[in-house]
Symmetry: C2
Subunit: 443 residues, 2 copies
C-alpha cells in the first residue's frame, strides 16, 4: 500500500505534480472545483473573442487518464486538518491523506473594496472571460444604436485597471479590437474613436520587467492608441465609471487586473501567511511542523535570493515538479531536495505583432518578441490538440484581422447592467438617421 | 431612395435573403435577438462536447459587413403592424418598412406541458446546447462519486424524447460518448453500463425518411446500444425522470427533441396560422392581403404537391432566395415568381461512422452515408473559417475517439438540479473503496 497524495487544484503546479506521480507507487487524488485545467496566460484572448474556451482548457481527466493510480474529483475543499491528516469538502465529506499539496491558485483581490466587483470584471476563470466578452460585444452593439454622442462615448470607453502583464495584454488587445472590428463591421460607430485607458497606481507598467522593456511597452501601447495613466490610484468604481484624481471617467466596461490573492484555503493550514494570503513555506515548499503538507504556486510565499518568487505559471510548475522529487525521495528514504526556481524568462504581448520579452540578459521587443511569445505559448499549451487549434486561430486572425469567437451567449451577466446596455431604446432615431445618411448602391 | 427591407431573424432564410439583397438598390435592416447566425444542424455536437460554440456560430455583422446598404441590429421584434408598415421592438421603438420578412425561426414546443421545461432540455440555441453539455458532464462526475448503484444508474441514464433527426442524432452521439469517454476517463463508473433511451410517440423513427432508412437507423442505433421505445407517448416528466406507460423511468438527464413551433411573432401578422404557429402563406411566400409582408422557413406553412414543406434549413434558404427574386422583380416592375422547393436530399447522422441519407431515389446508410453527411455539412457551413475548424475537430475526434470541448462552464443551469448532482456528498465512502480496489502500479 503506497501513501495517499491529495492534490488540491489542477493548475500549472498541481497538474505537473499529478502527471509526475503517475509513475510512483502512490495513490493520487486530484480535487478541483472545475473539470478542466486552464491555460491562464491566454485567458485574456478568450475575454477578447480571439480564442474559444475549449482552445485553452482541457479536461483534467483527459490529461491524467492513463495513470491508473490517479483519480480526479470535481469538488471544493473547504478545510484541511493538518493534525488529523484529512481534507474536508464543502458538504463535510472527509478525504484522508498522507501527503497534501495545496495548489489551489489565486483569485481576484479587490484590496478590500469588494463593492467594486459589482461594476468591474476580474479575469481569473473562463466565466470571467466570457462575461467580459459578452460585455464588450454588447457595448459595441448598444453604441451602434445610440444617437446621443456622449452616451455613445461612454459605451466605447474601456478602462483596464492594473499595469501588470494581464492589464497590458487586455488593454493592447482591446485597442486593437476597437481599431479593426468597429471600422469594418459597424456602420454608425465606424467613425467614432473608442477610448482604451490603462490605469496603474505605480510609476511604471510591467514592474517585473527591465526598465527598457517597460518603456518599450509604453511606446507600443501608445502606438495602438491606449491612454496610459501612471501613478494613478483608482478612488472609486461605480456603475458610471471610475473616479481618478477626484474626477469621474465615464465608461461602461471596466476590467480589474490590479491584483490577486491566494484562494482562502491556504489560510486553513494554520501557518503564517503574507499579505496576499500565501503560506510562508520552508525551503522544500512544506509548511512549518508539517513536512508532508505543501503549498505551491500562488499559494506559496517562497523567498529566494531575498526576493519573493512571482505568481507565474513557471514557478508553480517547477514547484510541482519539486514536490514530486520530495515524495520520490521520501519513498526511497533519501534526503529531500530544496527548491530553487530557475527563471527561464518572462514576456507579455501587446496586441498584434508587438510584445516584450526578457530571459536572463536577453531583452526583446516588437515583432521578434511577439514571434517568440507565440512560439513559447504554443509549446506550453497542455496538449497537442489545443496547440493545433490555437495555431490555426492565430494564423487565421493574422491573415484576416478577424477575431473568431465574437459570440454573445450565456445568461445575463450577474453585474448590474448599465442603463445604456438596454438595447433598442433609441432605434427609431437611429433608423431615420440611417435612411438619410446612407445612399444605397446604384442598381 | 430605395425601399426599406426589414428582415427579422438571421437564420438560414433571413441570412440568405440579406446576402442577396446586398446587391440591390434597397436599404436592408437585419434584426436578430442574438448577434450570431447559428448552424443549427450541428447544434447537437455542441451539446455533446464535440464542437465549440464558435465552430458553428458566426457573427451576423461579419457575414454581411461588406454590404454598405445593410445594417444589423441586436434586438427583439415584439409586434408588427402590417397596416402601418412598422415593426415594434421590445422597448416600443418603431421600425418602418416597405418590405417585411418574418424569418424568426422556431422554438421548442412542449405541447402545452410547459412545466416539463423545468426538467428537460430543449435544443434550439447555444445556451440550450451548453446547458445540456454541462448537465451530461456533471452527471458523469456525480456518478463517479456515487456509491449507491441505483442512484448511479439514474445519473447514467439519458433519455431523449422525439425520434426525428435531432433525437436520433442526440441519442446516437450520447451512446457513443458513454461508450468511449466513460471507459477511458473514469475509474469507478468505467465498469457501469450507461443507458440511452430514445422515446418516440409514433410507430417509427425519422418519419420523413424512406422506410428502408428508418429501419437502417433503428439497426444502427441498436448497434450503439440505444434502447428504442416506439409508439410510446411520454405521460409526465419530473425531477426523477419520465413516466412511460404508467411506469417511472428514473433519469437525471432528459433531452426534449419532440417538437418545435414557430416563434410567437408570426402570430402578430394577423394571418391564419397552422397548429405549429406557422403563417399560411401565398404561393409567393407573402401573406394574404399584404403582398410586401413575407413569412419564410419555420414561420411559413407552405403547401406544395399537397404536402406541407418540412422545417428544414434548405427550405428556409430557398425561400430566402425566392423573396430576393420577388423584390428584384418588383424593382423592375416584372411579374413575381412563385416559390417551388427543390428537395436536394435529407440526412441524419447516427454517431461515429453511421448515418442515413436520401436524395431523390438515392438512399444510403452506414459509413458511405456518414461520409456524404460530413462532406455536405462542411460545404454548408457559413464561412471558410468554421469549415477548417470543424474539419480539424472531426479529424481529431475520428483518430483519437476524443471529444474536444468537454468543459463545465457557466452559471448554474436554471433547471432544478437533481439532488444527486450535489457533488461530494458521498466522497468518503468512495474514497475508502478506491483505496481498497485499485492497487498502485509497482515502483
Amino acid at each position: 500500500m503506497g501513501p495517499q497524495v491529495l492534490i488540491i487544484g489542477a493548475g500549472f503546479g498541481g497538474l505537473r505534480l499529478a502527471k509526475r506521480l503517475g509513475k510512483l507507487p502512490v495513490y493520487v487524488t486530484v480535487v478541483d472545483r472545475s473539470n478542466h485545467h486552464l491555460f491562464q496566460p491566454l485567458l485574456y484572448q478568450v475575454a477578447l473573442a480571439g480564442l474559444s474556451p475549449a482552445d485553452i482548457a482541457v479536461p483534467i481527466r483527459a490529461i491524467v487518464h492513463r495513470a491508473q493510480n490517479t483519480r480526479v474529483m470535481l469538488g471544493e475543499v473547504t478545510d484541511i486538518s493538518t493534525a488529523e491528516k484529512v481534507a474536508i469538502l464543502a458538504d463535510g465529506t472527509q478525504l484522508p491523506f498522507d501527503y497534501c499539496v495545496v495548489a489551489a491558485g489565486a483569485q481576484t483581490s479587490w484590496f478590500g473594496k469588494d463593492a467594486w466587483s459589482a461594476h468591474a470584471f476580474g479575469l481569473k476563470n473562463l466565466d470571467d472571460a466570457l462575461d467580459i466578452r459578452t460585455r464588450v460585444l454588447l457595448a459595441l452593439e448598444a453604441a451602434e444604436l445610440e444617437p446621443n454622442p456622449q452616451r455613445r462615448q461612454e459605451l466605447l470607453t474601456f478602462i483596464v485597471i492594473g499595469g501588470g502583464a494581464t492589464g497590458v495584454e487586455v488593454a493592447g488587445t482591446l485597442a486593437e479590437l476597437s481599431r479593426t472590428l468597429i471600422a469594418r463591421d459597424f456602420r454608425v460607430i465606424a467613425g467614432d474613436r473608442p477610448r482604451v485607458l490603462l490605469v496603474e497606481a505605480g510609476p511604471t507598467l510591467l514592474a517585473a520587467f527591465h526598465p527598457d522593456l517597460q518603456q518599450a511597452a509604453i511606446v507600443q501601447l501608445r502606438e495602438l492608441g491606449v491612454e496610459i495613466h501612471l501613478d494613478s490610484r483608482v478612488q472609486d468604481i461605480t456603475a458610471d465609471g471610475i473616479v481618478l484624481a477626484e474626477k469621474l471617467i465615464r465608461a461602461t466596461t471596466v476590467v480589474w487586473a490590479a491584483g490577486v490573492r491566494a484562494q482562502p484555503l491556504a489560510a486553513k493550514l494554520g501557518a503564517s501567511l503574507d499579505k496576499m494570503g500565501r503560506v510562508m513555506v520552508q525551503p522544500d515548499c512544506s509548511i512549518p511542523s508539517h513536512p508532508n503538507v505543501f503549498a505551491i504556486g500562488d499559494n506559496a510565499h517562497f523567498v529566494q535570493d531575498e526576493q519573493t518568487l512571482p505568481g507565474l505559471g513557471s514557478v508553480a510548475q517547477q514547484q510541482g515538479e519539486h514536490v514530486y522529487r520530495v515524495i520520490a525521495a521520501d519513498l526511497r528514504n533519501q534526503k529531500r531536495p530544496t527548491f530553487r526556481y530557475v527563471d527561464k524568462g518572462t514576456m507579455a504581448t501587446i496586441g498584434r505583432s508587438r510584445a516584450v520579452l526578457q530571459a536572463g540578459n536577453i531583452r526583446l521587443t516588437g515583432f521578434i518578441a511577439w514571434t517568440a511569445w507565440i512560439f513559447v505559448h504554443i509549446m506550453l499549451l497542455a496538449d497537442f490538440r489545443s496547440r493545433v487549434l490555437v495555431i490555426l486561430e492565430w494564423a487565421w486572425q493574422y491573415v484576416t484581422f478577424r477575431r473568431g469567437a465574437r459570440l454573445i451567449t450565456g445568461r445575463p451577466v450577474t453585474h448590474s447592467e448599465p442603463e445604456a446596455l438596454h438595447l433598442g431604446h433609441t432605434v427609431a432615431e437611429k433608423a431615420s438617421k440611417f435612411t438619410v445618411d446612407t445612399p444605397p448602391p446604384a442598381a
